[in-house]
């Protein structure tokens, strides 16, 4: 393990690491354009120049491996001058069109200009003209003039998505980043190139001109597009809502988690937030009056639902509950507790498999498009598709009086006939969900629930990693988190659940479910913890969890 000194700070670094990696670990900021920790190192942008003692030239921090006894200066006169020069060169042909550039605010050129540049331009000459605002894919717009040829996107397409769409053509200052003629950047991970583009050369069509990035609020969350559970940041525009135009989530950005998604996210997941403000979003409580669904209120509907529950219970008619793997661990636990303690329901299926097998690959996109199937399994739900079919069969044969369905669009997974007969078989159908579908259209009561950006909770991904979601925006209309709806029901019937926050549910959950024992919100933190079927945390994780809890409480 070589020991090196960066800016007077002594560090012991793993052999084979480069200076910039060592500096990153120590929290010393060295500027970079071409270097990206998730990609190979090319060392061509030259902005990361640092002064290394006993080396005649400035060295690129991203490529120079650490050697024992190395003394590095990142802020020396020479290093700053070198960086400033490189920056000046980068801006020679870069259009200064920050006003129309969506990258402004998160642009490395701007940041480093303010940090190291601040020179008066010597440039009098005309800038080279290249193609501007060319759509190069379903989601991406390319502005070649702004490109600084750092090749991050090219390396992404070569190394991560392995689709090789992009290349740098010509040479010298006429070199231009372009996709291969006739090819578009439409791989399942394409928009990541926008994230890694340090300047505004690659921008997102969907986000284009929507707002300026400095208006955005960020909330850490987890993608619900599939069971991978990629870590994301939800960007919302709370201070200037008129810019939202009916769409409260501005964009999703991947968040680094070395155990799950590293730096990336698939396009499907990136645009999976659209259902939050989709046209079919349920925002009001509804009930069926004379065969028509009408808007209602919680105050009106809750007693009616309670009465239905009560009468079904007293008449010893069956109550059936179909949970959903789209619900958080908290929702599922509260539901399970309520259903088994108060309603006496024992069989609780959750899974509805779609008729067609969805797209999946071996990187991030998984076949199971639900974020929490694993968690439902841990919590004692029956994750078998057949169990759901059995429940529907029961309903169809009239063995169920009251059916509570969460989220599911049953027609997506079952024959329309079966669904129809099942839903008409039950006297009362309560649909709890965030978006309308064919099932909700046939329900007796519709109780609107929050989407994942409107509530707190945890999801358990396919590998058993429990990860936290946070509330980014206020719930739409009357919608409530599912656990709140269940708790409100439980207050009037049977044993009341004494939950006030999602965290209360989780505390109860960790006490009662072996797989989650020892966890807490503070221990889960941003990275998540792995739950194990046999009930114990992994050795390393348990220690980490204990430490995290300690530091959190301290």
């Amino acid at each position: 393990m070589p020991t090196i000194t960066i800016d007077g700070k002594e560090l012991t670094v793993e052999k084979g690491k480069t200076i910039i990696q060592a500096a990153d670990e120590a929290g010393i900021d060295i500027p970079r354009y071409c270097y990206h920790p998730g990609l190979s190192i090319v060392g061509q942008c030259r902005i990361c120049l640092v002064e290394v003692e006993k080396m005649p030239k400035l060295q690129v921090a991203c490529y120079t491996p650490v050697m024992d006894g190395m003394v590095v200066h990142t802020q020396s006169e020479r290093a700053r001058k070198g960086r400033k020069d490189v920056l000046e060169f980068l801006l020679v042909n870069h259009p200064i069109d920050c006003p129309v550039c969506d990258q402004a605010g998160e642009c490395f050129l701007q940041d480093y200009y303010m940090k190291f540049g601040l020179y008066d331009s010597k440039m009098l000459e005309d800038k080279n003209k290249k193609s501007k605002a060319v759509p190069i894919g379903k989601h991406i717009v390319l502005d070649s003039e702004r490109c600084i040829l750092c090749t991050r996107c090219i390396r992404f397409c070569d190394e991560v998505s392995k689709t090789n769409e992009l290349g740098i053509f010509h040479r010298g200052d006429h070199a231009e980043l372009l996709p291969y003629p006739g090819k578009t950047v439409d791989n399942p991970y394409s928009v990541n190139v926008v994230d890694i583009c340090p300047v505004g050369a690659l921008t997102e069509k969907d986000f284009r001109f929507r707002t300026r990035v400095w208006y955005l609020d960020e909330t850490n969350s987890v993608c619900t597009g599939c069971s991978t559970g990629c870590n994301i940041e939800v960007h919302t525009n709370k201070k200037r809502e008129y810019k939202n135009e009916g769409r409260r989530v501005t964009r999703l950005k991947p968040r680094f988690n070395k155990d799950v998604n590293e730096y990336w996210i698939c396009d499907e997941g990136r645009y999976s937030f659209t259902y939050v403000d989709a046209a079919d979003r349920l925002g009001v409580v509804m009930k069926r009056v004379k065969g028509e669904l009408q808007e209602s209120t919680w105050a009106e509907v809750m007693p009616e639902v309670l009465t239905a529950l009560q009468s079904a219970k007293e008449n010893n008619k069956r109550i059936a509950v179909l949970g959903s793997p789209k619900m958080t661990n908290e929702d599922l636990f509260a539901l399970k507790k309520f259903a088994s303690q108060t309603l006496g329901v024992s069989q609780m299926p959750v899974t509805v498999l779609p008729k067609e097998k969805p797209f999946s690959d071996d990187f991030l996109i998984r076949e199971d498009k639900n974020p929490n199937t694993k968690g439902a399994g841990y919590l004692g739900y029956d994750t078998d598709h057949k169990a759901t079919r059995k429940l529907l069969d029961d309903c169809a044969s009239g063995g169920v009086e009251l059916l509570i369905i969460f989220h599911h669009d049953l027609e997506a997974g079952f024959e329309t006939e079966l669904v129809k007969s099942a839903l008409s078989g039950a006297k009362t159908v309560v649909f709890v969900g965030s978006n309308a579908n064919t099932t909700s259209a046939r329900a007796t009561y519709i109780l609107p629930s929050c989407t994942y950006v409107e509530k707190e909770g945890t999801f358990t991904n396919f590998a058993g990693r429990v990860q936290k979601i946070n509330r980014a925006i206020e719930p739409l209309g009357d919608s409530l988190p599912e656990w709140t709806i269940i708790r409100n029901l439980s207050r009037k019937i049977g044993k009341a659940l004494a939950y006030f926050e999602a965290e209360d549910v989780f505390k109860d959950l960790t006490k009662n479910t072996a797989a989650f024992s020892g966890m807490s919100y503070s221990a889960i933190g941003d990275g998540g913890l792995v739950a194990e079927e046999n009930g114990k945390l992994k050795q390393g994780d348990a220690k980490a969890a204990a430490q995290k809890t300690e530091t959190a409480t301290a």
């Binding site: 006003p99 208006y215 008129y242």
Partner: protein, 187 residues
């Protein structure tokens, strides 16, 4: 620590405030006396050397605008009549009163990709600080219309919209010298 510590401490006599009050009152009273005499002189038909007041009789007499005066905003147009504004939202960002509302849109022409679809200024909130003019990288917003009488019956009417802003013209007649003060005050 009090900011006044850096000044020299007041003497006992000064601490009573009396000298300051007296000198202040003498000054204002001096003005009162001088102006009153002039007013009376005028009232009884004598012609005073100077007028007792320096006020302009608005709205009959209007005070000329100084070039630096900040009046109602306008959006500058390009030669083809489209807004010069590119919707960068710098003004919106810098506005201390949060009175500018911009929503951008794609501009059909590719070279300048962006333009504002909505550009509203809430004059009810605006404090006429002129930061938006300073911040604009395109010199697209200016406060030189010479319109100072801004009033409306409802809050909504205080919103000035993009097309209104674009339709405004700069006021050209500026006075660069101090205008004549020998106006005729009406008592």
């Amino acid at each position: 620590m009090n900011v006044h510590d850096k000044y020299k401490p007041l003497t006992w006599w000064e601490k009573t405030y009396l000298p300051a009050i007296i000198s202040g009152v003498l000054l204002t009273f001096g003005h009162f006396r001088r102006n009153m005499v002039n007013h009376i002189k005028k009232a009884i038909g004598m012609k005073p050397k100077v007028s007792g007041a320096v006020t302009f009789q608005y709205p009959e007499v209007r005070r000329p605008f100084w070039p630096r005066l900040r009046t109602l905003h306008r959006l500058v147009r390009r030669e083809d009549g489209s807004p010069r504004c590119v919707g960068c939202m710098m003004c919106e960002t810098v506005c201390p009163a949060h009175c500018i509302y911009i929503v951008a849109e794609e501009r059909p022409e590719n070279q300048i990709e962006k333009q504002p679809r909505i550009f509203d200024i809430d004059l009810g909130k605006c404090i006429f600080c002129g930061y938006c003019v300073e911040a604009c990288p395109e010199d697209a917003i200016r406060m030189d219309t010479g319109i100072v009488e801004i009033s409306a019956y409802t809050r909504n009417d205080m919103m000035i919209r993009r097309d209104q802003l674009l339709s405004l013209e700069p006021k050209k007649e500026y006075y660069t010298e101090r205008p004549d003060l020998e106006g005729k005050p009406v008592l």
